[in-house]
Subunit: 131 residues, 2 copies
DNA sequence: TTCGTATTGACAATCATATTCATTTAAGGC
DNA sequence: GCCTTAAATGAATATGATTGTCAATACGAA
């Protein structure tokens, strides 16, 4: 049914992965691009976009599409989870919500929906930013 | 603390509201723009964007920012709720999830977050679209 | 090493949305 | 109804993230 994508290990993808790893928080493609260049690696912006998307497809990073439409990426633990994000400083907390997972699957199947996915993000202002 | 926005009733906003009401499903600003014009009303695209954003601010419509970054709007029941959306035909089911509401508020306050909001959307393929 | 193809990247193109700013108009007080 | 004023409008322009193109390059299997 599905073919192995067969990703190749390149200098560029390694650089993007390392930049993501060093950051910890959500960053946009443009930000990752800057970080990579500051580290001395030369990677094209287009390639940064493609690398991030590939990693997202492979589940190596989490993606959030912010309200302004910009996508932000973060290296994440491999298991499915959600995020508590500070609107001010963007710091994030990974959260587990088995109950919510179950609820999403249930409510969808009750309405006859197949192939179910979901997005759950909680936003607020973290204690530090609240002054 | 907060000033009354003092929205004015204009021909254009009425047209946008009616178009939304007639649709029922989520529509983008561009789509609403086309619908309004097909109905014979003349409204600028800029105004459609601003009207939709104002209505969203006022809680009269729900907004979802899709994966591609485009925002879609829908006239909604006034109370807070979430959606089960068909990826194929875009039909939506409004869903209530008091448990999820409570969970979101709890997990946020446990981490010291204030001013909490959340997004919860469930996606799938509806029974009709599944063939 | 060789070869096929995945990957790269400079550049142009898209396209949703924001900004500008001169003009129009709703709404409250008279 | 008339005035006044700030809100609203919209055409044009700008913005800015993301995508498409395509020739050049480099993994990695054999
Ligand atoms: Mn989940
Ligand atoms: Mn709704
Ligand atoms: Zn913060
Ligand atoms: Zn459907």
């Amino acid at each position: 049914m599905a073919e192995a994508p067969a990703r190749r290990q390149t200098r560029q993808r390694t650089a993007v992965a390392e930049a993501l790893e060093a950051q910890g928080e959500f960053r946009s493609a443009q930000e990752i691009y800057d970080i990579v260049r500051q580290r001395g690696d030369s990677v094209g912006l287009t390639t940064v976009y493609r690398a991030l998307q590939a990693m997202a497809d492979d589940g190596q990073v989490d993606v959030i599409v912010r309200g302004d439409g910009e996508a932000v990426y973060r290296q994440c633990s491999p298991s499915h989870h959600h995020h508590l994000v500070c609107r001010s400083c963007r710091s994030t907390v990974e959260i587990d919500a088995p109950d919510v997972e179950r609820w999403a699957a249930d409510v969808a199947s009750q309405h006859g929906f197949r192939d179910v996915t979901h997005t759950v993000e909680v936003f607020g202002v973290c204690a530090r930013c609240a002054d």
